[in-house]
Symmetry: D2
Subunit: 424 residues, 4 copies
Amino acid sequence: MPNDLSIYKRRESEARSYCRSFPTSFNRAKGSEMWDVDGNRYIDFLAGCSSLNYGHNDRDMQAALIEHIQADGITHGLDMHTETKQAFLTAFEDIILKPRNMDYKVMMTGPTGTNAVEAAMKLARKVTGRTNILTFTNGFHGMTMGALAATGNAGKRNGGGMPLAGTTHMPFEGAFGPDVDSLSLIEQMLDNPSSGIDAPAAFLIEPVQGEGGLNAASTEFMQGLARLAKKHGALLIADDIQAGCGRTGTFFSFEEMGIEPDLIPLAKSFSGMGLPFAALLVKPEHDIWKPAEHNGTFRGNTHAFVTARIALEKFWKDDAFSRELAEKSVQLTSGLQAVADEIEGATLKGRGLMQGVDVGGGELAGAICARCFEKGLIIETSGAHDEVVKVLAPLTTSSALLREGLGILLEAVREVNTTKMAAE
Amino acid sequence: MPNDLSIYKRRESEARSYCRSFPTSFNRAKGSEMWDVDGNRYIDFLAGCSSLNYGHNDRDMQAALIEHIQADGITHGLDMHTETKQAFLTAFEDIILKPRNMDYKVMMTGPTGTNAVEAAMKLARKVTGRTNILTFTNGFHGMTMGALAATGNAGKRNGGGMPLAGTTHMPFEGAFGPDVDSLSLIEQMLDNPSSGIDAPAAFLIEPVQGEGGLNAASTEFMQGLARLAKKHGALLIADDIQAGCGRTGTFFSFEEMGIEPDLIPLAKSFSGMGLPFAALLVKPEHDIWKPAEHNGTFRGNTHAFVTARIALEKFWKDDAFSRELAEKSVQLTSGLQAVADEIEGATLKGRGLMQGVDVGGGELAGAICARCFEKGLIIETSGAHDEVVKVLAPLTTSSALLREGLGILLEAVREVNTTKMAAE
Amino acid sequence: MPNDLSIYKRRESEARSYCRSFPTSFNRAKGSEMWDVDGNRYIDFLAGCSSLNYGHNDRDMQAALIEHIQADGITHGLDMHTETKQAFLTAFEDIILKPRNMDYKVMMTGPTGTNAVEAAMKLARKVTGRTNILTFTNGFHGMTMGALAATGNAGKRNGGGMPLAGTTHMPFEGAFGPDVDSLSLIEQMLDNPSSGIDAPAAFLIEPVQGEGGLNAASTEFMQGLARLAKKHGALLIADDIQAGCGRTGTFFSFEEMGIEPDLIPLAKSFSGMGLPFAALLVKPEHDIWKPAEHNGTFRGNTHAFVTARIALEKFWKDDAFSRELAEKSVQLTSGLQAVADEIEGATLKGRGLMQGVDVGGGELAGAICARCFEKGLIIETSGAHDEVVKVLAPLTTSSALLREGLGILLEAVREVNTTKMAAE
Amino acid sequence: MPNDLSIYKRRESEARSYCRSFPTSFNRAKGSEMWDVDGNRYIDFLAGCSSLNYGHNDRDMQAALIEHIQADGITHGLDMHTETKQAFLTAFEDIILKPRNMDYKVMMTGPTGTNAVEAAMKLARKVTGRTNILTFTNGFHGMTMGALAATGNAGKRNGGGMPLAGTTHMPFEGAFGPDVDSLSLIEQMLDNPSSGIDAPAAFLIEPVQGEGGLNAASTEFMQGLARLAKKHGALLIADDIQAGCGRTGTFFSFEEMGIEPDLIPLAKSFSGMGLPFAALLVKPEHDIWKPAEHNGTFRGNTHAFVTARIALEKFWKDDAFSRELAEKSVQLTSGLQAVADEIEGATLKGRGLMQGVDVGGGELAGAICARCFEKGLIIETSGAHDEVVKVLAPLTTSSALLREGLGILLEAVREVNTTKMAAE
């Protein structure tokens, strides 16, 4: 089949987006590389927006999934008991929960991040008898009406077509610059009975904001929120959909912060292989759902149970992977610093394998990413003004490939700078 | 692994539901049959709530999917162009749209029915500049806050934890019994400028209500809604998530009604194999989305593109399958009539391969389904009071298996009747 | 000062309305008559939309109010105890509550009907812990956002500028014509747990709909609502703002229906003299307000306490006034029948001194009222299409004046008919 | 009638409030003094919460009102043209608007502040096509559902019984202490397209917060809001219900700030005599109401037109009154400083004749006010924690009476201090 894209114009909705940045047709992917139908090879620094933390088509996941299919294993089982689900839950308990002394129940939600977030919001309201979810500037939690109300982006919010309800947006750490303590403002608002901020059912926060510009909350900030949540009778919801599953260097992004969120939405890389899968981790005392009170057809994607279990067993049985990630983070920081040094006023954002460069504006960031793509690197922007060039390479990317990709990025920046200067 | 279910109590949320009706652990499925870990065989008259219209693990879909995986085909590609997606869209255009003279664009939404419904509601509001979506008694459209507002079930609605907004519930055909014309009531409400019913952005209706009790709207009713929609400047959204993909005997449930819905949410069996997948069909003139205005990570599940294409090519290239379904519908009606004859006041509900028996109450229906399971038949209830025993067998169920399953159902009804009489 | 109206164009908002129907400047009023600055005399069949049930400037109310002012009686006392308020409450207890065996507490709300309605809606939600107020087609309850949500009129609702929440509109008696039993529809909706109608906090109904077209609910309908409210744990709110204070022939419009509403908003004629005043009658068991939980500066208009007490003492100490009203109702019906006989298809609406003629359309009704004004009669339309010519003469209008006014109306109808025929 | 208050317990709702602070029964009032039925005299430093800026029963207003009543002047005229209304509008134009070069139209709303605020919110939404009204911490705007959403007080908000919509609460000047610039925070929130703060229809602010603790916005802050409103396409609504009508020393509280609010709700003292009356001033270009789009029975209280006109003519024809107020403000500040000096950490709040002392806590402030009442001074608290002792004496209070009242306050503070020390 030729690289003819007319079918998309004719038959796919204008809502499509990433394909506009990467105007080719892909047909093969392995590890951190993708190939298009013309045989061109690309390094993937987007990784399905962090859905492919273990790279494309991990050999072991492929093998297990093929074996499952060949054995007529369950493909779709609603939320019935299946051997596959049992094995996954057992692995999750043994490999993730127990070693971290975490006690959570797994709620299989519809296989989208937004569904897990909606389940969390509904449950927080049910547990507290309150409606107001405190969310944060630049937060991104999903497109369905409940989660959209918790999302900051004006364009996305306008897509709702009617006023969004049930949330109040609080300043994320650093939202007003380094001299204003967001946590203190939030505490003052909550302590003032005439602030107009209704008693919170929950704080809903991404420990590292993926879409919002790689803003990473500090341990102090997260601990402060945990304290405020307790003080005001609210739950703490850590949305680890993009930052979880190892992206920041540990399985959970908040793992070393000494906090225990009440609810934890997971999705994206949770299936290991990029299959649709989402879940909400719930502290047992909050698991007051009635059967089917939040239901859905695809709760639990059985193929994803297969690959998710492999991901846990292969990468998280000991701390080898985490140590590897720590090293790569250093390499990434160093590579991005070189990039930032080329751009006046540029700063580094994020942490772990979730870092980027704030280049100061969306136009420049877009030009850099477009140039990268021409040079064989898939990379995207982030931030309220699309001003951050964001690296979300698979966690399994080899040091060499990481270096190659960062090299392309550096070259692209230099070329864009040259073009810019020529134009001035 | 033994059939030990303790992990579910320990680690899965109380929200789980179907597993309570079918207390065993499944590990294999093919066509219309499932097997548990102890080797027990079950006939599946639930079919993933109509997500497995082509049966479990269709051989051709399995083969194509395995081939795709082995070739390192894209597993997750966000909404980028992929050869796989292109092939799917082309097949959908050729096999479904063109022969039916239908002109729609496909919006890949998050891979859940509720996400496709939310996208439809948002788009209808955007197109009309209005907010009020007219939905129907006993309707079921999903669990996220937008779609939940369009769902009738009180238990599900209460799960929202706060008032739901943006919808008005209208009486479905026959909601007030045979002597009250729902369509006329709706028209009078809309014609009265002081009715308090705000100008509608859309009608959102399931042509056959799956969860609501297999209520099948007539051609007259659907045409009437289409007329009212036009008259009042509203869109018509036909939610074909459960009733579509052949369930009623044709690919779309409304196909022979002479109407052209503006928006058509699809999910459940759209992937062919039970993989998470959903889409919204949009008339081109309404496709006014801005890029990424409704986005999401798993829009387009590439594995599902593979199997969905096979499903189209295998079952819908000509009308053989439809003719087969027409015959099976007759067989199903006849079998269910025999069941209904055993229960005083029982009536048949639904149409096509989406039929059931209203046995008059939820307790009886529940007892029948429980007895069926003991006898090796997986079947569930439906309806506002769970009063309908609902058959959603795979469309590919052989005549013999259909007969066997219906036979179990009949026996179960007789046994329950006997037990009841003994108790009285 | 000349009858120069330019100041209104220059300085009064376009929201002004009644002055457009009656384009002159009034400066004196007594009983059922008004005079403009040019000395023209008008019979008043509008009576401040039923705010002047005892006529303009009742001699005894004038005297009492002047005496109060001259004695430096309290004009504004917030909701402090005043001798005047005490006297009013005592009179209300003795003259209205005790003889009717009614046990209610009086909540002084802001002095507008809409404020009393909002207080009722808030209290019903507080008492039941539910949010959904069931209101009715063609209902009118006020312009502030809570009451506006309970109002049916589309134009008024659009004025809200955003979606209105917290109410569901039910069909008033006869809303779908004589063959459809609204009460039965409502009961079916409430009995169906999947109807999408959330559990009601209250029914909010005008026993006779003033703005909605003089639709008078029957005793059976009101009793049915009372029964449904009890069955479903909802309160019954009888909005007697326009129909109360004698307008239907008894002090409360529902007085002879054998029902006991939980909450009764009163306003309009409650002050006796047309002064701003409103209150909410609350069954003692529902009076769970915390102090100042619903507050406001003008709760309790002390001047109105003076005149309201006179009204009670003068008109309601025995049943003479009610008997007089019964006679006048007969006269009014008879006069309106003569009017209706002139117009093909016209029907009588309403009851007591709250009657009118549905002339079939708003254009005709408007023409009739305009002609009336030219002939010295102030009268207005009502109804979803402004199709009802509505008589709201002061209850104290003499038989002779009533006859004179009805005579003008009859003439006006004939003249309009003649003009119409000439034009055809 | 004896001072028997049992009728209130028996027949007035628990919502009553001020009467609990002042447990006696009043029957006469003149100027700045009130008398109870036992003949006790009280100095009134509450003035109907600023509704009696010209004192109780102003001689000239009494005379004009009595003359109007005796002449059978219109008492209630809906919103028809009346000689009385014409005279009022003309006086308002001549005395208030013209000398200030202000061009506004007067919208007669229901005669409560909350109704004027609701009209403003509705109109701002209509003009801008947006829904979000930005309101402020500690703001108070009314009890009906629209205005309540703009009010900060948690107790009042909870009275709503359901989530409130359509507003976002911003920090008032100084809300986070002197080191955080609220205006800058607001600007940053609005400039950030991902802040989650929807595009504003309006800013709604009290230039001096009456209920919220006498927080007075500076000229810089108000000018900043005016600038932000313009920048972001929003209207500026200055709620001058409590701070207007001379309370701060000029007719409008913002008069010397060089800003031109788009909408100005007025009520409380606008009638001059404490009669229910409210209006919304609207810049002509925003007066896009359709006739009756916001209506109501008591729009325009004709008695209030009479007294309101007298108030304008008597007090505002020249700047003598303003100069007098300036002097009294100095006296008030000085008296309150003496009070503050008695209490550790106490600070002065407010400006003009709207000043008070923040005594640090509600218990102490309550004890002081209670002691004042025992000593013959009516005075109330204000603030989120009721921590401000607030002086709202009539503007016409003589210097001698002001001194006497302040003397009582000082004594009360000393006595409470002594009691406190004794208890420690």
